[in-house]
Symmetry: D2
Subunit: 332 residues, 4 copies
Amino acid sequence: MVGCGVMGTDHARLLARQVSGAELTRLTDLDPGRATALAEELGALTSPDGPALVAEDDVDAVVVASADATHAALVLAAAAAGKPVLCEKPLAPSLEEAARVVRALDADGTAHLVALGFMRRVDPAHVELREALHRGAVGEPLLVHGTSRGVTAGPGATSESLITGSFVHEADSVPWLLGSPVTAVCWQAPGRTTGTSDLQDPQLLLLRTADGVLTTVEVLLNARYGYDIRCEVVGRSGALALSEAVQTTSLTTRTSDLSRTSAFAADWRPRFAEAYRRELQAWVDGVRGLEAPALATARDGLVAAAVCDAAVRSMRAAVDGAGPWTSVEVPS
Amino acid sequence: MVGCGVMGTDHARLLARQVSGAELTRLTDLDPGRATALAEELGALTSPDGPALVAEDDVDAVVVASADATHAALVLAAAAAGKPVLCEKPLAPSLEEAARVVRALDADGTAHLVALGFMRRVDPAHVELREALHRGAVGEPLLVHGTSRGVTAGPGATSESLITGSFVHEADSVPWLLGSPVTAVCWQAPGRTTGTSDLQDPQLLLLRTADGVLTTVEVLLNARYGYDIRCEVVGRSGALALSEAVQTTSLTTRTSDLSRTSAFAADWRPRFAEAYRRELQAWVDGVRGLEAPALATARDGLVAAAVCDAAVRSMRAAVDGAGPWTSVEVPS
Amino acid sequence: MVGCGVMGTDHARLLARQVSGAELTRLTDLDPGRATALAEELGALTSPDGPALVAEDDVDAVVVASADATHAALVLAAAAAGKPVLCEKPLAPSLEEAARVVRALDADGTAHLVALGFMRRVDPAHVELREALHRGAVGEPLLVHGTSRGVTAGPGATSESLITGSFVHEADSVPWLLGSPVTAVCWQAPGRTTGTSDLQDPQLLLLRTADGVLTTVEVLLNARYGYDIRCEVVGRSGALALSEAVQTTSLTTRTSDLSRTSAFAADWRPRFAEAYRRELQAWVDGVRGLEAPALATARDGLVAAAVCDAAVRSMRAAVDGAGPWTSVEVPS
Amino acid sequence: MVGCGVMGTDHARLLARQVSGAELTRLTDLDPGRATALAEELGALTSPDGPALVAEDDVDAVVVASADATHAALVLAAAAAGKPVLCEKPLAPSLEEAARVVRALDADGTAHLVALGFMRRVDPAHVELREALHRGAVGEPLLVHGTSRGVTAGPGATSESLITGSFVHEADSVPWLLGSPVTAVCWQAPGRTTGTSDLQDPQLLLLRTADGVLTTVEVLLNARYGYDIRCEVVGRSGALALSEAVQTTSLTTRTSDLSRTSAFAADWRPRFAEAYRRELQAWVDGVRGLEAPALATARDGLVAAAVCDAAVRSMRAAVDGAGPWTSVEVPS
């Protein structure tokens, strides 16, 4: 496990305690104390840094959950060493860099060793939605409405990081859901923001996919009220949506404020806990040859980056909160 | 309108402002000032007391919403005068008195002039439930679960008034729903109360109807969290229930306490506002000969009183919170 | 009542049977048999045509529910006769015509006699949403999401009639909700339609209001699954939405197909039945001088027509399903 | 793994593929072909029978999911061999036998080696309910309402097996939830059954716990519409309930039958899949000394059997569908 931040710590605990067939052997982090503490908790050893960890003899496969800027090099190092690697999104901080990684993997014939952590692809609710759609539950799709709301924007969030850090999940999940690539993106925003002059929040992204479906995605980082990820698909004979209850706890509470209440998750951890466990279990099963995992590939990561790139270009060309439709261009 | 308390004021406003074909001509109340103020608001006159109002020339029909102890005499007076009367429950404060009223009405051939205010019979949700049940939506019924919760017990509430004032609605609505009379009642209670030594709250009433259905009714006056009336019918091929949303407002609110909230009604007024309007409209339509109203009769009121009487007898015979099954006896 | 189609018949029945203070005296329809039958049912007389009805001595106020093309002339005739008129939307079939009507009313000082039938303004759910928004329940609004779905497009529906016949409700309700006028509209559509080459269905309209809020409105005539009108407002401190239960019946049904089900309305009649009753009651109360009704004015109808006109212009200028942002211009 | 029926097969797959720290080494079943097939699928070996499996050198711990009648002997054999054992409920087919097992374990000092498979204790929804209750979310509890419905009664189901096979879950979970033992049980039933003369279905069990709470439990095996386990706790300041959505899939579907639908589970497997995984993970963690598992003990199994025994005695003493309150007697 490279990186022991919030995400890396969660992943490490899952690997060590909740995943069959995996042994957590090595951890590393920029903060050695953090790595040591977690290694002690989980009965693992530490390595001095990411490249060193990749090279350890007792490391058969690598999870990358370190800073975004380190992903590309670690992925290439693991692939070069013939070790499977599960990399948190993004594959690389820029579209060009992501393209370079994919070209290198393709040239080396090592692309099969790389999986990207787009966890919605194994989230039970999203999988159920996709399966229902594909079995024709509502006929041919016409519209998709995605909503991605968090409680509070992280420190340093910008208009662009909203796209590359949050919207990127829909950039991957919408074409995965529809089985059709995104061809163009159009950026829109209200004349108000919950953020600063550097952070337009919320934003509305419109997507066209090759199949003719029109998608709206609202991203709102400072939603205050909870972590709330929704998706509705409208088809020719009906509509399918993630149940609202997917976001909330198992309880309905009625108390003296004259209301009936369900609690929201405060962030992605409770909402996607099971998705992360399944992602790691599927990845480990794939590494062990038990089954081909249903995870995103490095190329999927490149494509999602290209969708985000089009969104950013539309935003930069926007006048009075309205950007132009902008083509998605996936570098070859 | 006889009685200008909370219920009478609501009824008067509905009659004067929301009911087609009715003119509110006269009001009376024990508190003359209250009657005068309401009469001015609604453009009506006052009468010195209930019997005087019944006798007024400009009164064609009477609504009785005064104290329980006055109901029987006013109903008999109106019927004797040949004037239709809509009487709030109960028909009379005791089972014997109710029986006496029904016998008198039957002897005079004036029973058709009397309607009882069991508003669930015209509540859209209850009507929809009954219609679905009767068209076989879930097959032959097996069980009914009723829940009747209020925010706070009224002043002077007792274990017995809980039965005769609140449970009485289920005493009428359950046999109306099933089309089968209640034959026996069994009283149960936890070893805890939200009330005093005189008020066991909550109580659990078990009912048997002649068709073999078993019904549970929970009554809780001090529920704190809202006014909450539920009903579920379990049949051979499924279950039907009033939607939980029936109790709450039209909005779902998500705010910064990380929850999704729907507001409950604080009392019966918002919950049954439409039922009361329909009750009064149906009654007026009936008085005008437009259609036979689907309202409860004086005999229905007697039967409901007999069910309550069995519940009270079971309670009085209870040991350690458990009463015996007690037969319902309707006086002839 | 001018016009005894589906809408006129409903209105006539409500006026005659469910509205306090109103007497239905006269009906007329292009089909005299239809008018006669309804008049007999409701105890009213007929008039040979709309203008004749407006002129009848026993007509104090007029409801216009006839064909769209007849609205303007009937409204002007009623106003000229000094009779209050409630006109179903639209005020006139074209923006220019609507402007002409408003100018004429203003010139004559009779604008106060005219109300427009935008029933959402008295729909309890929409009123509750607006009140919660205005009391600051979720802070300053940022985004509005409207959804307007019907079961099946009417005969002869076109891309333009979808806007002027269905979207027009949001064209009125969004600025009413926000208290801020719509300044620009942008038309978008998927590359698929449930209709023909003349009917693009669904359509997505983006609206900007003067306050900076961005609104999305999806209109889908052939939704198949039910009549479904939704609205969500996202504010700085939370989100408010019409409860999903608003659209459905009071029952939750569980039957042998292993599902829990709530039934949708098949069209606007059950969904807005109470709104229509309140609209007529409020209008009659206003006519009687009891209270100033909260209904839309002729000018509101003109403004909504101007919003629709901008939507149509954006649609006509669209390339590949994407129209430009187009300014709303209200003729003076 | 002893027993490769529906339950045993699920458990075996979870242990082999989804549980960290476990290796599935041996399987056995009365049907050797079934055991062999599953062993091949999961990379395990077979043993000729349960006692032989318990004695295998490559078996460190045993899961018992074989026929009820074999549980007691296998538990005692495993405990005698010093091997931890997770036994599906019941501990033994009769109360006397269960008491004998517990006495033997206590005498040998091996009770700590035995865990009972009451999976609700690790079901996330039930755990969340219990935690909310214990942190005082609704104040001191007054009433509990449990509902336990399945789609179809299994072959050979009887009035008694409904109690010992289905109600037994509430016999364990209600006192676990409340932290107070069940002291008495009262059996009630409608005059109708979905079953035969040997199977009264549904049944209503009333429970009193030492803390004074009154509990109702409805058990219905032939509910037809889905697997539906509910629980509501009513307290002095509000009510807590498992969200209805807990039972259903992640999707809300709207299709051309004019309804909004959520799918129910067809049996306990989807509903409690995560509970079973957590149960096995917790048990394995406990076996490995990582943490004390929150699982039921052999004594908990004895106590639940005593509650069921009181229910059966009340049923046998019933007249016209109503049994007496019957004390729970836990053999020492």
